[in-house]
Symmetry: C2
Amino acid sequence: MAEVRPTSAGPTLADLGEWELIRRLGAFAPPGQFNDDAALLTLAAGEPPLVLNTDVLVEGIHFSERTTGAADVGWRAAAANLSDLAAMGATTVVGLTVGLVAPADTPWAWVEGVYGGLREALAPEGGVLLGGDCSGGGQRVLAITALGRLAAGAGPVRRSDGRPGDRLVCTGPHGLSRLGLALLQAEPGGVQAAALAGLDPDLRQRAIDAHRRPRPRFDAVRALIDSRPAGLTWRVGGCDSSDGLAAAVAAIAAASDCGARLDRSRLPLDAAMAPLDGAESWCLGGGEDFELVLALPPAWADALAMRLAGVHPIGELVAASPGTLNWQDGSSWADGPAGFQHFH
Amino acid sequence: MAEVRPTSAGPTLADLGEWELIRRLGAFAPPGQFNDDAALLTLAAGEPPLVLNTDVLVEGIHFSERTTGAADVGWRAAAANLSDLAAMGATTVVGLTVGLVAPADTPWAWVEGVYGGLREALAPEGGVLLGGDCSGGGQRVLAITALGRLAAGAGPVRRSDGRPGDRLVCTGPHGLSRLGLALLQAEPGGVQAAALAGLDPDLRQRAIDAHRRPRPRFDAVRALIDSRPAGLTWRVGGCDSSDGLAAAVAAIAAASDCGARLDRSRLPLDAAMAPLDGAESWCLGGGEDFELVLALPPAWADALAMRLAGVHPIGELVAASPGTLNWQDGSSWADGPAGFQHFH
């Protein structure tokens, strides 16, 4: 691991960056297979499609003992994966497998905590631990693969299924998880701790809960299915907001070959969080809120908002250069906060 | 990674060992879910069951740049996973997902080689790369999840489905992969290189190929299905021999609540390898041959051997203490070679 490797010709992964790496890896799969966060599998006509998703979580990058207890690591790992299933329109969770890498000196109590958290996150969705593998290694890694299924008669949610004129909505407030992380990371006596000291105790708790125990929004998928207006065929653009709200909107717009306009006066902020310095930036770029971001015909968006509390209209898709973001009032979108990039 | 962790009360993973760890993790899954190498999923009546399997491969443990080029790492990773699908009786490969962890200084050429090898191993089976995730990290790790399906009308192969009186067969020679590894690891001018210097060139090539490019035995599953004698209901005990032949037999015997007798005079050795020192030990414990080891009613075993070249009868299951191994002539099985254990 600390081994020095011979210098090789050609770029390293750091040279490529995460998105270029994913683009290159996509060339090893059938065309379009890497367009969404999860794979959609139609095995036989008449059977509802399966949804399959893999996430890796690496200690020191995706979790840390300082901010996240073992049970929360397990919960978040499961929830992040299940959120990708929900983001594809799945309503049934079959379960998940876990590939665990851990150094030999890892306490069993930590592993037990992680698997307990995984089970706790799975149980409300009806999923189970299906299997897995474990190995020694230099660093703790969890590789989770989740399997789910679309509802019979419902279609998938795909990034590329938005159209100009669609309303953009999200299923809850954004930025809370990032605030929760800041609270957990703040050194006692440090600058950030001082800045956050006067925070409303309820907001503090909501933010920490949002970070530690995010909930995959299968309830929102069910509401989406149930609220489809008569006469509208199934067509839903969308993904989850794990990489940040702005990144989700940009991804839907780019995959759907259009632009997006966001309404700056109606950002989906927790009301108690809105007055905080940096709230807008964390709302747009904080990430890990695991809400659904959807592009819907306006009538469907209205019907969904009537059925499901907390649905925020945030803007619309427009005919524009693919993936461009602008404010709805025409003011320019200065370099917006981007999603979290690995391989830095 | 090099971080010193606080001493915790309770055992570490090294204290538990791999099998005890897996036993404890199994308690987080439904009863019996961890009995086989892959999960069997019946999603709906009338649909052939799915088979899902996850393996993790860690650099320095499961592969090394010294013995394994990038394309071979990818091939072996895919083949090991697909072998677990075949070992459950799957005949259809849907595809696989890859969770990749790699340090930022990893050359893209290595990643490209790995994915090329994966694709090469998948293509003959009709499977594709379904998706995945990637992250930075301190050490290269591949977490592969493969999805397959049983043939319509065929049953699964399970470790626990053996019965006393069943014939034990395997689908090919054992020990070649271990010999191949020894050849690849031998330092030029070293003791092992000298011992292996006079090796038949054809055997040398077969052994290196067996190590670098193992083939999952879906052809053997098809032959198994096609050779079932009329009147026999589906009941097949089995697993693959990735952890070694003796470990596979012991696992089938233990899960089937019986013992096993192996015929020492008919060990499944490559004829050219049989005279080598240590051939018996590598045959029984070398591992990574990725053949199928099956427990079948004798008539079915005979029919399979007629249909598929290379099927070796190796012994039988007997009423005895679960998991015990003995030689067929009654001589005692001194501490037989065990499978490869991690977390040492």
